[in-house]
């Protein structure tokens, strides 16, 4: 589970949540990371939109509640778009 795409997602999460990358795993979620509150969640979504040049639908944002799920939503979005 260390594809280049996953690493990009993790890198953004690392910046936005202000954590060293080693503390962020596929299972990390708002339940496991204290700094991941609703404001940081919004910042994370926006940072991903800027990075990947896309806009997420409300349903997608609802699903993006762990690093793993974020990764798969982004992956779908990129595949779907190209």
């Amino acid at each position: 589970m260390t594809s280049p795409l996953f690493e990009r997602v993790r890198g953004i999460a690392e910046n936005v949540l202000k954590l060293p990358g080693s503390q962020i795993t596929a299972q990390s979620s708002p339940e496991t990371i204290a700094s991941w509150d609703s404001v940081q969640h919004l910042n994370l979504i926006l940072a991903l939109e800027q990075e990947f040049g896309c806009q997420f639908e409300p349903e997608e944002i609802d699903q993006m509640n762990s690093i793993d799920r974020i990764h798969s939503v982004v992956q779908n979005k990129l595949n779907h778009g190209s």
Binding site: N15, K18, L42, N43, E49, E51, F56
Partner: protein
């Protein structure tokens, strides 16, 4: 040339290098790389990284603390890290307070609200058309023309009451977002045909908001409608984010808002350039004059010379609002002057430039010489050069200079200048508009000084006339500007806003005077301010500043002589004043001592000087003719 060049590092490498430097305690270098990173990548993710690193470096850097409150009707949280990263880049350590969502009215009206408790330096009132004028935004098609008018009147009335209430409770600057137009008018193209269209109604509100701001000091308009239009109404919004998290704009536009806010913070905090120093070859014109010659360089109204023409127009616009232009170019002087004087495509003429360094000396040294010649600090210079190596050299040798990043394609040169926040101004005084001419006269005066034998003869030959007047409405802007911008001849360096000066002067015993100086070379304009305070039989000089334009020509003695007379007339026996040293006000250090004041008290901040008015006179130099005017109050 061996440079601390990091231009080859990508964003990820820059981050790692920054963390390495921070671990080694190299704060200054780390902050340079943070600036470079921010210039490269303006995203939310990088902004968060930059803010967290600056928060650690903060104690080791010389940053200006500033407090900003945002009263808002929408989500601004994701914009804040972008704004703070941009502020750190500008040398400002910004603390941001956000009102509760849609609570701007309560925050303004309640004197005990967290807004006033926060004690902001500046407040942004960021509300949207759809929140403050929903009937005009959404239900416009339902309204008849009377209802449109009454809606507009209600909206302006709301703003008026917010502004008045705010002003009664806070001296902070207030920046008001004006109202944006909907992307598509409710009635389609019909809107353009009718007198009371939706667009017209919103424009009228905006015009009235502008008038409302102009009536007051320290209240300004942010043209939000133009901001949205500039970046494209169709691409500005993200309706999904609005509906789910009340964030109206798309992710790609967050930084446009942050940048627009920063354009206000620069002039408010004095992080502005007074002079822009430009290169010639491949900057003011295309090609190299020494090789391509007059006929070979690209400059004119057609492609490709038009890009350089456009840049000259942008520079001329700066000149018209009081920003000085100067040249720093590696060239043969004669070649360069030939083009400056005689090329048909030159929009800028030699007379537009306050200083020129056309030689083969390195640019860092030339920039220092230009600052000295113009009597300003190097931190007041901006530098414009197409050559990245020269820019890098200036960045590393004179880091105080603001280096403008030019794109590699000259098509973008003019825009890079127009979008640079260091040239932004919130007010334009008469002096600003005349500054270029004033410096021309200054050069003539220096030439005279070199030809006249004695110092007194030089003073006499200047034929100086000083006009001293109490504070007037017309002079308030300039007076506040002098107290906030003058660094060198400034005895106490107390910075005042227009609002603060108005309030001080309305208190008993406090007076504010300005001095205007004319000589045979021209009018220097309003160049000095004194604020005095009476207490019993003592008069204290709270503030005494003089623009560097007239330092060293005995005007300061003439001004002090007037202050002493004024104090005596009001019954004071003693005249006192503090000298509070800063890194820049050495020119004022000996002022009191050289006018026979004696030191009275010394604390960690400075020295209090005193003059016994009944014993020692302060006589006005015979070569300065002084006129005293009455004020308008």
């Amino acid at each position: 040339m061996a440079l601390s060049q990091s231009g080859r590092l990508n964003v990820a490498e820059l981050r790692q290098e920054i963390d390495r430097l921070m671990e080694r305690g190299e704060a200054t270098r780390a902050s340079h790389l943070l600036s470079e990173l921010w210039t490269k990548d303006n995203t939310v993710s990088t902004a968060t990284f930059i803010v967290s690193r600056y928060e650690q470096l903060r104690p080791k850097l010389n940053l200006l603390p500033y407090r900003m409150a945002i009263l808002r009707s929408f989500t601004v949280e994701p914009i804040v890290p972008l704004l703070r990263a941009g502020s750190f880049h500008a040398g400002i350590d910004l603390t941001v307070h956000m009102s509760d969502f849609n609570a701007h009215v309560q925050e303004i009206l309640d004197p005990k609200s967290s807004l006033y408790g926060f004690a902001p330096d500046v407040v942004f009132l960021a509300v949207q058309t759809r929140d403050v004028a929903p009937e005009l935004w959404r239900d416009y098609a339902d309204l008849n023309s009377e209802q449109v008018q009454s809606a507009a009147t209600r909206v302006v009335g709301d703003f008026r009451s917010w502004v008045s209430n705010f002003r009664a409770r806070s001296k902070a600057h207030l920046i008001i977002h004006n109202l944006e137009q909907p992307s598509v008018p409710s009635c389609g193209i019909l809107d353009g045909q009718v007198a009371n269209g939706q667009a017209v109604a919103i424009q009228q509100i905006n015009r009235r908001l502008q008038a409302l701001a102009a009536e007051r000091t320290g209240v300004y308009i942010l043209d939000y409608d133009s901001l949205v239009a500039r970046h494209g109404r169709a691409h500005w919004h993200d309706e999904r984010k609005w509906l789910t998290v009340r964030l109206p704009m798309a992710a790609e536009n967050l930084n446009h808002v942050a940048k627009e806010w920063l354009k206000f913070l620069h002039p408010l905090t004095g992080k502005v350039a007074k002079t822009v120093v430009v290169d010639l070859d491949n900057t003011l014109w295309g090609g190299v004059i020494g090789e391509d010659g007059m006929a070979g360089i690209e400059l004119g109204t057609e492609y490709p010379g038009v890009y350089f023409h456009n840049l000259q127009r942008a520079l001329l616009d700066l000149h018209q609002r009081g920003i000085l232009l100067a040249i720093c170019s590696k060239n043969n002087l004669d070649d360069a002057l030939e083009a400056l004087k005689n090329h048909a495509g030159m929009l800028l003429k030699p007379s537009h430039f306050a200083a020129m360094r056309i030689n083969w000396t390195d640019k860092a040294e030339n920039l220092r010489a230009i600052a000295e010649e113009l009597n300003i600090g190097v931190e007041s210079l901006a530098f414009l050069d197409d050559d990245p190596t020269e820019c890098q050299q200036v960045r590393s040798q004179v880091p105080e200079v603001f280096v403008i990043d030019l794109p590699s394609d000259p098509r973008g040169f003019a825009q890079a200048v127009r979008e640079s926040p260091v040239f932004e101004r919130l007010v334009l005084s008469e002096e600003d508009q005349r500054r270029g001419a004033i410096y021309q006269a200054h050069r003539d005066r220096q030439e005279l000084a070199q030809t006249v034998a004695s110092r007194d003869d030089f003073y006499r030959s200047l034929q100086q006339e000083a006009e001293i007047a109490p504070l007037t409405k017309a002079s308030l802007t300039r007076i506040a500007q002098l107290t906030s911008k003058t660094n060198q001849f400034n005895l106490t360096s107390r910075r005042y806003t227009e609002q603060q000066i108005s309030e001080m002067v309305s208190s008993p015993g406090c007076d504010c005077f300005s001095i205007r100086v004319r000589d045979r070379f021209g009018d220097n304009g309003l160049v000095g301010v004194a604020i005095t305070r009476f207490e019993g039989q003592r008069c204290e000089i709270d503030t005494l500043v003089l623009s560097c334009r007239v330092i060293g020509r005995t005007v300061e003695t003439a001004f002090l002589s007037f202050i002493a007379d004024h104090a005596r007339k009001l019954g004071a026996r003693r005249l006192r004043g503090w000298f509070l040293p800063t890194t820049k006000n050495a020119p004022a250090r000996d002022f009191y001592a050289s006018h026979s004041f004696t030191p009275l008290e010394q604390n960690g901040k400075g020295i209090l000087w005193e003059l016994n008015l009944s014993q020692v006179p302060v006589s006005c130099p015979e070569w300065v003719k002084v006129t005293v005017r009455n004020g308008d109050r």
